[in-house]
Every structure is written in C-alpha cells, then in structure tokens.
C-alpha cells in the first residue's frame, strides 16, 4: 500500500510517498490515521487531517484493500 503526502504532511514525513509492507497495512481510514499519528506525532497538532481514497474524501469508516490511491490531505489553503 502506497500513501501520498502533500503540503505540511509531506514536510513532516520527509517524503511525498511512503509504502506500507503487507503485514503493517492499515485496513481502514481510521487505522491508517492512527498509525500515522503514532509514527509522526506532529500530525496530531494539525488543524485537521483528511484522507482521500481514489481521489475522493473518505471518512474514518472506509475500508482499505491496499490497491487504492490513498492520499493524506492536511488543511487545505487554496485561493
């Protein structure tokens, strides 16, 4: 499973993409967020932390198979 990072989350992670090996792969948006916050405590200080699955906002209950395009969406600030 690959996860894309943008904006401040890219800076925190130090990369625009990370891979989870199969055994560590989160099975839902909620568990993905939990794992990220454990690995990168800075994430918990953000105003918000959203996840996109196949380029659509996905709430915590969405399940992940591992073949989706997954992206971490920190607070947006366009315009």
């Amino acid at each position: 499973m690959n996860v894309l990072f943008f904006g401040i989350t890219k800076d925190i992670v130090g990369s625009s993409e990370i891979s989870f090996s199969n055994e560590l792969q989160p099975t839902s948006v909620a568990s993905l967020k939990k794992q990220l916050i454990e690995s990168y405590p800075e994430f918990s200080k953000l105003n918000s932390l959203a996840v996109a699955v196949n380029s659509e906002y996905a709430d915590d209950s969405v399940l992940l198979k591992g073949n989706e395009e997954i992206a971490i969406i920190p607070p947006v600030s366009g315009g």
Partner: protein, 138 residues
C-alpha cells in the same frame, strides 16, 4: 463549454471575460485572488502553491456542478495556479455568467468560498526568514 475547471501554471486574467461571455448572459461576475505583500504586517516574498491535481480537478468540478444546479447560470469557470507566485500575481480566478446579476454574484461567491474549503491545494507563505503552510496549525 458550460464549465471550465483547470489547474495552470500562470493565470491569464485578460481572457476570462471571453470565456464566460454568452449571448444569454446579462451579467458576469469574476473574482481574482492575488498575492498580498503583507500578512499580519509581515512582508511576504512569495506564495508557493502545491496541489493533488487529480483530486483538485474532481473537487473543482463538483463545485462547478453544484453552482450550476443551485443557480441559473450559463457558464462557470474555476482556475487555480500552482507554483511560486510573487506579490500581485493572480493565484485563482473564479467566475459565472447568468441572465440576471443576482445569480452570477451569488455563484461567484460560492465558488471561491467552497474552493477554499474543499479543494486540495496548499499554500506556503514565504517570508524573509521562514516559510509557513497556511492554516495547517490552530
């Protein structure tokens, strides 16, 4: 083309009227967002915009569709720039055309307000001695 949704490197403000103009439109309302020189009294050198483009285009398209559903509009345009932008450079342009002016004014305001809430675009403010991701922290 009723709906224009784009991410571009440079925004050409001069062409937007022709894009929104229409034989059935008595009114066209356009909003341009640009880089301000000062934020909280601190001098801004530039803004750097980054996007998750595939998703940003989808979200922009949803906003345009929502505006077309809510108001009687002839054309809708949402265009955002990415990359580094200096003071006075346009970073976003949104607009709508309609038979009467109420609809295009309300839609134009909706387009920019909603874009700022949902479209995955991120802005870093570059000051002389630091850079800050806007809105990231409380």
């Amino acid at each position: 083309m009723k709906k224009v949704v784009e991410i571009v490197d440079v925004i050409d403000t001069a062409k937007v009227y022709a894009e929104l103009s229409d034989a059935n439109s008595g009114g066209i309302c356009v909003f341009v967002g640009a880089v301000r020189e000062f934020t909280n009294n601190e001098e801004v050198i530039a803004l750097e915009f980054e996007t998750y483009e595939a998703m940003a285009l989808k979200e922009m398209s949803k906003i345009a569709d929502e505006a077309l559903a809510k108001w009687s509009l002839n054309k809708v345009l949402i265009r955002h720039a990415v990359g580094e932008k200096g003071v006075e450079e346009p970073v976003v342009i949104v607009g709508a055309s309609s038979a009467h002016r109420d609809a295009c004014f309300e839609a134009c305001r909706f387009l920019i307000d909603t874009l700022k809430e949902t479209v995955p675009i991120w802005k870093k403010e570059k000051f002389k001695n630091k850079s800050v991701w806007v809105s990231a922290h409380p």
